[in-house]
Amino acid sequence: MTNTYYEFFCPVKVIAGKAALEHIPYELSGLGAKRPMIVTDKGVRAAGLLDPVIAACEESNLDIVCIYDDVPPDSSTTVVRDIAAVYRKEKCDSIIAIGGGSAIDTGKAVNILVSEGGTDIAKYSGAGVIKHPLKPFFVVPTTAGTGSEVTSIAVITDETKGVKLPFTSSFLLPNAAIIDPRMTMTLPPHITAATAMDAMTHSVESFTCMAKNPLSDAYATAAIKKVSQSLLQVMDNPKDSDGRLELAQASTMAGIAFSNSMVGLVHSLGHATGAICHLPHGLCMSLYLPYVLEYNLETIRQPLGELLLYLEGPEVYADTPASRRAEASISALRKLRDALYKRCQLPRTLKETGKVTEDQLDHIAEMALDDGSIMFNPKEVTLKDARAVLQRAWA
């Protein structure tokens, strides 16, 4: 008997497809919520994405009590405290986060404060600190990438200490995730590309890292297939609502996969690069993915080879000898990155970003080694190894 063991958990109700937003009032009332607050950012509001949500609620006689639209890209403890104060002042009883990973993570943190009390979110940082269910919490993702609507983690920056605080608890999971193709239709090309590559990376790492399991595998492969089939179509035709829905679902599925099996070195390097060079998360994922797969290659040859079926389809898979499939999977991902570069200049190397200098690589390597995700990378990573991967990703 092997030592195989795994856990899988996803209690989020997924409400997806055409006119999904119109289910929000019914779902809120099912939880006894009457005074929802919207947490979002300026970009999402400017794209007009709040209007259909507000209209859907008003048509059911449910008033949105207040809207906070000033979430910054890297949400901070102060922002969370401010939003919690507004929530209390307005006597809200539930939260609807509308946006990408930034607004969603902020919504999760605000929910901790308004449910558990106090003004100091740092107090609840860590794993398993929260012991009670929180207020009704709904998430409407507007990027198709982070999968944050189905993960039990939020990351908030503590400005005074200059550190990122992680919060993990299954109570952070929203009551419902509402996936409506209208919400991602306005995503600009480079954000569409970068966030879709985040979802791709969640799936690929989930399928090749140490905590992979049969259930997360099923979600990961299905997500890879959807991204592979729809991303370039959507890039060429941004108003393709079927394609948009495919990407949005892929992102949620990839989120379910990785929150149950964790991610590896691509994320360790990406988190460090994001913190040091302030590059968007999805961009970093797309950038590092092939280099990390090459580094892990001999440890993940079998699972990576299997992914060729989902990346390129049955013909290419059947035509490729089993011994070459892992390399072919990496080539397929490189090909996709080239196609994205052609369409929106999504960088493929650190040099192409124009925001990283070569003397920052050592700092990135050191920080990546302290990232929690490195524990789940299938191959052990030393400082020397991390530096070597960064050097290859440089140009």
Binding site: Y6, E7, G128, M210, A211, L369, I374, M375, F376, E380
Partner: protein, 181 residues
């Protein structure tokens, strides 16, 4: 009938084994931090006075070490002088036994949700690397390979043998000293 009588004994044996392994590891951690520059470099990034704990939930055996500065660890036995900074908690005695008897790699145990990290994850990652290094030092290669994700290539046999011997010696003296004390 028979299983009922045998089981508590088996679990008692596991408990004793885990307790003993924690003692050996605690002393070895202190010893290895006095001789190995790789461990020292890792440990130097930890704050001075940093307390690290490994324990079996809910209230089982414990191992507590403190970073004294300069990359040196001090083994505190199973009682901490103040609340610990990072704790790696095995969810059950059986899981601790699997890991400490080298049937399940530490990294796999993490991946299998056998244990929880309480406290700053980046310090926990660092301590896991220190523990891996320790295991590859004090265990014969054949067992160490089972315990760690990758056996370090820069750990050549003579160095390993001499350092391991020194660590064993230190552990042994420490045992004798504390037995006398």
């Amino acid at each position: 009938m028979l299983t009922k009588r045998i089981q508590p004994m088996a679990s008692q044996a596991k408990r004793l084994y885990v307790e003993l392994m924690f003692q050996v590891m605690g002393r070895a951690l202190q010893a290895v931090s006095e001789v190995d520059s790789v461990v020292q470099t890792e440990a130097k990034a930890l704050p001075e006075g940093f307390l690290f704990e490994m324990m079996v939930m809910p209230d089982g055996s414990k191992l507590i070490v403190e970073h004294m500065g300069e990359g040196r660890f001090h083994y505190h036995g199973d009682t901490a002088p103040r609340p610990v900074d990072v704790s790696i908690k095995f969810k059950h005695l059986t899981h601790a036994f699997l890991v400490l008897s080298f049937q399940e790699k530490t990294s796999v145990a993490f991946a299998h949700d056998r244990m929880l990290v309480d406290g700053d994850v980046s310090y926990a990652v660092r301590m896991t690397r220190v523990l891996n290094r320790l295991e590859s030092f004090i265990l014969p290669k054949i067992i160490a390979k089972r315990a760690v994700k990758e056996y370090p290539v820069d750990l050549h046999l003579p160095e390993k043998l001499t350092s391991a011997a020194r660590i064993y010696l230190k552990v042994a003296t420490h045992f004798v000293q504390s037995a006398r004390a």
